[in-house]
């Protein structure tokens, strides 16, 4: 080892000294307040962005409900929101119910058969609607009422002179 090299090594800081100085370095700084203000602004924007997909998802669900409802019966043109469409649909369905003659008021077997077929068509439509919207309690209520009516119609048909028998439809029996 030359004298020059030896001097160079001697003049170097040793590892312990380097470790001491590294260990003594300041570990914290004080960020300027503008940093937090910028972060707050950015996360504020992100928060709204996070809400947007949720809002869009909710809108999609409502649109889907509206479509299902509109397939059951056309929504009034004046209905501006899905809630109004739903209310209008409920009112329309309830308003139409009294127009259906009571089973006891249907006298002739032909009229009974026609009522039975009409009611069966209603049951089919309600079942299709329930397939699209299984949680719709209102549809379920109407289906129950229609099946009860169907059972009553079948009973009156059997009591009539027997010239006409209702079709053997399991759905009208299985209440």
């Amino acid at each position: 080892m030359t004298t020059e090299n030896s001097k160079k090594i001697d003049s170097r800081m040793d590892d312990a000294e380097l470790d001491r100085r590294l260990g003594a370095l300041t570990r914290t700084a004080e960020p300027v307040p503008a940093n937090w203000a910028a972060i707050e602004r950015r996360i504020g924007q992100r928060r709204w962005r996070h809400l947007m997909p949720a809002g869009m998802a909710a809108a999609a669900v409502l649109t889907g409900v509206a479509l299902v409802v509109s397939q059951i019966a056309p929504a009034p043109e004046t209905a501006g929101t899905v809630a109004r469409v739903m209310r209008a649909e409920v009112q329309a369905m309830r308003a139409s119910a009294p127009e259906t003659p009571a089973v006891s008021e249907v006298n002739s077997p032909t009229a009974l058969m026609a009522a039975w077929q009409e009611n069966q068509a209603a049951i089919d439509q309600l079942e299709q609607a329930l397939d699209r919207d299984p949680d719709n309690r209102l549809l379920l209520d109407f289906l129950t009422e229609a099946r009860i009516r169907q059972a009553e119609l079948a009973r009156f048909l059997v009591r009539s002179d027997g010239r006409e028998q209702p079709p053997n439809d399991e759905r009208s029996i299985n209440l």
Binding site: R12, I39, I43, R46
Partner: protein
């Protein structure tokens, strides 16, 4: 840890810590003040996140300033990016009490990924002229400037090992290098520092 609890309580906005505490969260706060704040921030409590920022931005800015080679503006950009990312990814933090380590890895990733993209080119071009001044009262300016003048890779390893308390395995994972390379870079950094300061 005691010091940290005191600092958080003082630094946080009035009532934030208390609001962040439900009866069930209180034991968690006793052991780690971050846990309750993280839980509150996850629910969208911006004040709780502000308390986390107050508790952690100081040490993180020091790390980032050194990783940035003394570029204060860049370090502050990284600091903001890291906290915005942390806010967006809070749900991914499995253990709220581990917020500090999680945030550190997130911030280091932000810094290293930008370095990897080559957006910072000023280091070593004119080291003497740049002579960075730390944004804190500095007891050893020569050492700070020597660290800032180190080559990128060597400085990153030295800062992460000595000033961020990370091990070689974790540094290697963060930097995408072998642990042996991390050790070699640390040795190189220390040798260069001893030469510059000797």
């Amino acid at each position: 840890m005691k010091g940290m609890q005191t600092r958080v309580a003082k630094a946080s906005p009035a009532g934030v810590v208390e609001r962040a505490l439900s009866e069930t969260a209180r034991p968690a706060l006793d052991s780690n003040p971050d846990a309750a704040l993280v839980k509150a921030a996850r629910r969208g409590d911006c004040a709780a996140f502000s308390a986390l920022y107050n508790a952690h931005s100081g040490w993180l800015l020091a790390v980032l300033w050194r990783l940035a080679g003394g570029d204060k503006g860049l370090a502050e950009d990284w600091l903001q990016d890291a906290f915005v990312l942390a806010w967006n990814r809070l749900d991914q933090l499995r253990e709220p009490a581990a917020f500090r380590g999680w945030l550190k890895r997130l911030a280091v990733n932000v810094a290293l990924s930008e370095k990897r993209r080559g957006t910072l080119t000023r280091v070593d071009v004119d080291a003497e002229a740049s002579a960075p001044e730390p944004p804190w009262p500095c007891a050893d300016l020569d050492l700070e400037r020597a660290i800032a003048r180190l080559p990128d890779r060597a400085r990153q390893v030295l800062v992460l090992f000595h000033l961020s308390d990370l091990g070689h395995a974790e540094i290697a994972a963060l930097m995408g290098i072998e642990p042996g390379t991390s050790k070699a870079q640390l040795h190189r950094a220390r040798t260069l520092l001893k030469e510059m300061l000797g």
